[in-house]
């Protein structure tokens, strides 16, 4: 019976561990989610995306706290749109009225987009645009039919038809381009969960302390329970347990 329980507990813990290990990562390209990729992604995002898209929940100053960027670096590389304020959230230069006039609807706020759709979805979306002259913008997307956004990354990544034929090659080699898209996704993943690096950094110490306490508590429990087990073995009757209990109380 005892073995069954230990087995069940071990099974639960292993499956829990596997669940934890299976993070929301990308299969292609091979990709690491760490501070350098997020910083690279932040710069690419500022260059290509933040003119239209807000990440309003994330203040620029958090990039210094979470990623270790310097204020000067953030001002130079990330706060490209005019009028951005270091202590405020990332707001676009395009006004909602402009967006309405140009694309028919405002560009979505991307603060929580990776939490809401997943990193894989965002990556696939960004790499699934194809040229469709029928659409007002000239662009459509395999995973987001009738998308309003044009493929602004086409000059770097290339223009494709619906069947995947190359209409015009991009200036970047495919591997480098895919890596850059992955970096942007990494930045958005960080933006929707900015505590991630802090959590990871202190999590092991918290768990380690608790495991240590559990080990100590286990030996304490074993010591206390010795007389219960002794009593079982000798099958002695009487109030051993009571005496011990009264003493400790």
């Amino acid at each position: 019976m005892r073995k069954t329980w230990v087995g069940a507990l071990a099974g639960t813990l292993v499956s829990l561990g596997l669940g934890l290990a299976q993070a929301d990562t990308l299969a292609t390209p091979s990709y690491t989610f760490d501070k350098p990729t997020v910083i690279a992604g932040a710069k690419l995002f500022a260059e290509h995306c933040s003119a239209c898209h807000a990440v309003s929940s994330l203040r620029y100053s958090r990039l210094a706290v979470d990623l270790g960027m310097t204020k000067a670096e953030i001002k130079k590389d990330v706060m490209l749109p005019d009028g951005a304020s270091y202590l405020q959230g990332m707001e676009p230069t395009m006004t909602p009225a402009d967006a309405k006039a140009w694309f028919g609807l405002p560009a979505p706020n991307l603060s929580h987009i990776v939490r809401a759709t997943g990193a894989r979805w965002v990556y696939t979306y960004l790499t699934s645009f194809y040229w469709d002259p029928q659409r007002p913008s000239g662009w459509d997307n395999h995973v987001f039919p009738n998308v309003a956004m044009p493929n602004i990354l086409a000059p770097w990544g290339g223009t494709y038809t619906k069947d995947g034929k190359v209409l015009q090659a991009g200036v970047e080699p495919k591997a480098a381009y895919d890596q850059q898209v992955a970096d942007i996704v990494a930045f958005l993943r960080y933006a929707s969960d900015p505590s991630v690096f802090e959590r990871r950094a202190i999590g092991r110490y918290v768990i380690g302390t608790l495991v240590l306490l559990s080990v100590l508590a286990y030996f304490l429990k074993k010591e206390y329970w010795k007389d219960v087990h002794d009593k079982d073995e000798t099958a002695a009757k009487g109030g051993d347990a009571k005496n011990k209990g009264a003493k400790k109380a």
């Binding site: 994330l58 759709t117 329970w225 219960v228 209990g245 400790k248």
Partner: protein
């Protein structure tokens, strides 16, 4: 005892309570891992109270600002993410513990005479917890909160005669909005929480009146030593307090692993659609409840008619109240009842299958699973009185096995 101790005890029965509930409360010595769940639930309620208090200090219950105030906790408040993840993941862990705690009651016949009232109070706590979780679920006002609020409050519409008026009263208006958030916050943080806390006190008092059951289902009070202490009983303190400290350590390590490394548990503990702002103009393709309420939702959907579905769901929730009287076998524990044990295993598998299918989109291919699951769930309670009176049992030993 110290002078202060004497002074205190003349005015307050501290020593007496300590004896009655800890040092001279005799618990069976053969508790297994499932018996950690009670103390862990108590711990989790305290943690939810602390984290909830801190969250409420930053939360704004208006439809305009609720979502942003919660994101403010996540992005701009020092340790805000830790507090919120504790509170959100804590709910799922409480329900895991509750299901283990209740499953233990089923396995070892802990609901049987003289523990009927103990079981009923516990089951009321579980139902209250579902309400508490639902109110809390609406507060962050993501799009899922909004639509779940609309859908669940619309169930009240089915109440005869007063349904429509009651729905408006619960929502505080025609739809879910600021008035709903304000009253749900009041319910979540004050009324419901206080009722749950009071019921927990009653649950523990009722437990200490009848004494704990154990995996063998043997009444330890039947065999007492010359000193009047059950032969298989040991004082709760220090034996089980020290054992529970170990359980708390292991449990908190698992809790920390979730909070620090998988706080959304891949969308199971914190759903993806809660990260979109509430928007009455954008309906969700399918509004599914959190995993711990999904079995009932699956049964609700198993019947195509709304009223019949609600009745089925209500019956499913009410049936466990009658468990103490539906089980007619003289033996308590499933250890000595192979047929009953099989029934419980089938029931557990059914319950978690229903939880899984309740999370799936409402597609025809799942109807069969939903209906089969609902039939097995109801069938368990219908068949229990018959099977329990004819099933074969093994010989129950005199003393507990350690």
């Amino acid at each position: 005892m110290s002078k202060f101790g004497d002074w205190l005890n003349e005015r307050f029965p501290a020593r007496e309570m300590m004896r009655e509930h800890l040092t001279e409360y005799y618990a069976p010595k053969n508790f297994n891992i499932l018996y950690y769940t009670g103390s862990l639930l108590l711990l989790m309620i305290v943690l939810q109270f602390i984290s909830g208090f801190l969250l409420m200090a930053h939360y704004v219950p208006t439809s305009k600002d609720a979502f942003d105030s919660v994101q403010g906790i996540m992005y701009d408040t020092k340790w805000g993410w830790l507090i919120r993840y504790m509170h959100v993941d804590g709910v799922s862990l409480i329900f895991i513990l509750l299901y283990l705690h209740m499953g233990r009651g089923l396995l070892y016949g802990s609901y049987r005479k003289p523990r009927e009232l103990l079981w009923i109070i516990g089951y009321v706590i579980y139902i209250m917890m579902m309400g508490e979780a639902f109110f809390g679920y609406i507060l962050p006002f993501g799009n899922l909160s909004y639509w779940a609020g609309q859908v669940i409050t619309s169930i009240i519409h089915a109440v005869p005669f007063i349904g429509p008026g009651l729905t408006t009263l619960v929502r505080g208006g025609a739809g879910v909005g600021t008035a709903t958030l304000e009253r749900f916050l009041a319910l979540h943080a004050v009324l419901w929480f206080m009722i749950i806390a009071a019921l927990i006190v009653l649950h523990i008092l009722a437990l200490h009146q009848v004494g704990s059951n154990n995996p063998d289902g043997i009444e330890i009070k039947k065999l007492k030593g010359a000193d009047g202490i059950p032969l298989d009983g040991i004082p709760f303190h220090p034996y089980y307090t020290v054992k529970d400290v170990f359980g708390v350590g292991v449990f908190l390590a698992i809790f920390a692993a979730i909070i620090f490394y998988a706080p959304t548990m891949h969308g199971v503990f914190l759903e993806r659609t809660t990260f979109f702002r509430a928007n009455p103009m954008v309906s969700l393709p399918d509004v599914t409840p959190p995993w711990y309420l999904a079995p009932y939702y699956a049964m609700l959907r198993a019947v195509p008619n709304k009223y019949e579905g609600i009745i089925l769901m209500a019956v499913a929730i009410v049936l466990p109240f009658f468990l103490p009287w539906l089980d007619r076998n003289p033996v308590r524990s499933s250890r000595y009842r192979p047929v009953y044990k099989t029934m419980i295993i089938v029931m557990a598998i059914t319950f978690f299958t229903l939880a899984w299918v309740g999370e799936q989109p409402p597609l025809p291919k799942y109807f069969l699973i939903e209906r089969l699951g609902a039939a097995i769930y109801i069938g368990f309670y219908v068949l229990l009185p018959i099977i329990s009176s004819i099933e074969p049992t093994k010989k129950v030993p005199e003393r507990v096995r350690s």
